[in-house]
């Protein structure tokens, strides 16, 4: 399973390196979203500082939706998914590989978005350990749930609109918990950020376990 996951992740990342869709489209889109949040808050600096964690994770959610759609549009064209299905790779390995590829892209994006909130919203970074752990676990949540729902909606005519509708409510608790953990790490709230991190860990475990178990049935049915 792990070997299959590495193969699939390497394949997806190789496609992205060659096509540069994430670099040329997803990253600029996420940065534009940050800029637009600045306009929405009327460049109110104290308010932007307070809201920066939430805006950061909303931008990650929007960009994550694009990454997941991209991950499965590659498979939908020319019946590539049929080749993947008949290749003898374990479905769990395919799921973990695709989730890992999406997660790697999102981690790269989060580094750039962190620079974005430092420059645009004047965020002073603090609590590096909690911030980093939150980012990694939240990214695992977004990638795992995204890949599971991406597979579910892959064969549908209305996948472009259905995927955000299905995925956004599912990831809403992740955005909430990640925002609260970052607010605690940055000293913007008095809450215990590590408790939110524990909640994120539960979500990640559920999404990863559910995806690993159900992915085979999902790609067979869609």
């Amino acid at each position: 399973m792990w070997r299959d996951a590495v193969l699939v992740a390497a394949k997806d990342l190789r496609i992205e390196v060659r096509a540069k869709v994430a670099l040329n489209q997803v990253v600029p889109y996420a940065l534009v979203v940050l800029l637009l949040f600045g306009f929405a808050f009327d460049q109110d600096r104290p308010l932007l500082e307070q809201a920066a964690p939430g805006l950061f994770w909303m931008a990650v959610l929007f960009a994550g939706l694009l990454s997941v759609q991209r991950s499965f549009s590659v498979e939908a064209s020319d019946g590539a998914i049929d080749g993947l299905r008949m290749s003898g790779l374990e479905p769990a390995g395919i799921f973990l590989g695709k989730a890992a590829a999406v997660a790697v892209q999102l981690v790269g994006l989060e580094v750039l978005l962190t620079l974005g909130i430092v420059v645009l919203f004047h965020t002073r970074l603090a609590g590096a350990g909690l911030m980093l752990a939150t980012a990694l676990i939240s990214t695992a949540c977004v990638a795992a749930a995204g890949v599971a729902y991406g597979a579910l909606s892959m064969g549908l005519r209305v996948r472009e609109t259905l995927l955000p509708m299905l995925l956004a409510p599912v990831l809403a608790p992740v955005v909430l918990a990640a925002t609260q953990a970052w607010r605690a790490a940055l000293g913007l709230s008095g809450g215990d950020g590590w408790r939110w991190l524990g909640l994120l860990g539960c979500f990640a475990a559920i999404y990863l376990a559910g995806g690993t178990i159900g992915f085979g049935a999902l790609i067979e049915e869609t």
């Binding site: 005519r157 299905l166 599912v170 999902l218 049915e221």
Partner: protein, 294 residues
């Protein structure tokens, strides 16, 4: 080459009327009437008989709607989960479970919206705002969005087996939200109060207790009535789809029936009915391949 079969030879197996009655039965009519009577009693007692509350005044009358509606929302989603679990369990798999799941999801979505609306009205009266970022409130809104996604997903998948399988998996995730939602008042600090009724010594008494109990009975009966009819409707839709396909097959075969006499002419005798518009497309499904090859 085998001779073409006549429409009479390919007529679809009829589903017995006793299995899926096309009209309501005395039992469902009784259920609906009971729901109507108890809803009337709840309205009467809630608006005229029950006294105002010491602290909440007249606004306490929302107590006779909102908790019962919210509980029925959970109950309907629980039935959706049960139906989905029944479908996912290979030894139990049957269309009945899928019908139960879709009935639970639709009725649950309606009651979820009603919960949000009545809660918002009550919140405006007691907290002074239509909406607040309370844990239970937010989770209920997320649950409503999830249920809309579930129903949209069902409409997007044409193949009945795939539709049942995929939507059953999504429903299992909805259940997780229902459980978290139910315990939100205990796990997080929220504006919602804890259990009022279902504990050894309820915190309300007299007509308030009686009326609140009646509201649960009334909305419970209403939920049961809606569930029964939605379940029956789903079965009828399945039957309509299947018979629409079979009518299309019969119509196509009747066109080629007089093949030896040259040209396509209508078959003698009564004409088959026009194919019914099908959710899965008139020429998809198990019989489509046979038509395509003829």
């Amino acid at each position: 080459m085998s001779p073409p079969r006549t429409p009479a030879e390919v007529s679809p197996p009829r589903i017995p009327a006793t299995v899926l009655p096309a009209r309501s039965t005395p039992l469902t009519r009784g259920l609906g009437l009971s729901a109507l009577v108890t809803l009337g009693l709840t309205t009467w007692w809630g608006l005229w008989v029950s006294p105002p509350d010491v602290t909440q005044g007249q606004f306490v009358r929302m107590l006779y709607v909102h908790p019962a509606v919210a509980t029925m929302c959970y109950a309907a989603f629980a039935l959706c989960a049960l139906g989905s679990l029944g479908w996912l369990w290979p030894r139990l798999r049957s269309p009945r479970w899928d019908r139960l799941a879709v009935a639970g999801a639709e009725v649950g979505a309606v009651f979820c919206l009603a919960t949000l609306v009545t809660g918002s009205i009550w919140g405006r009266a007691t907290w002074g705002v239509w909406w607040t970022w309370d844990a239970r409130l937010t989770l209920t809104a997320i649950l409503f969005a999830l249920s809309l996604g579930y129903l949209a997903l069902r409409r997007a998948i044409d193949n009945p087996h795939s539709r049942s399988m995929v939507s059953s998996m999504v429903a299992m995730l909805m259940v997780l939200t229902v459980v978290v939602d139910h315990y939100a008042t205990q796990w997080w600090v929220t504006l919602h109060q804890n259990t009022t009724l279902f504990k050894p010594s309820p915190t309300i008494h007299g007509w308030q207790l009686v009326t609140m109990g009646m509201s649960f009975v009334a909305f419970g009966l209403l939920t049961a009535w809606l569930m029964v009819h939605r379940y029956r409707l789903e079965g009828l839709e399945e039957r309509y789809d299947n018979e629409g396909l079979n009518a299309a097959l019969a119509a196509r075969r009747s066109e080629v029936a007089p093949a030896g006499s040259g040209g396509l002419r209508p078959a003698p005798g009564p004409q088959p009915v026009a194919p019914a518009p099908s959710r899965q497309g008139a020429l998809s499904g198990p019989g489509a391949r046979e038509v395509a090859t003829r």
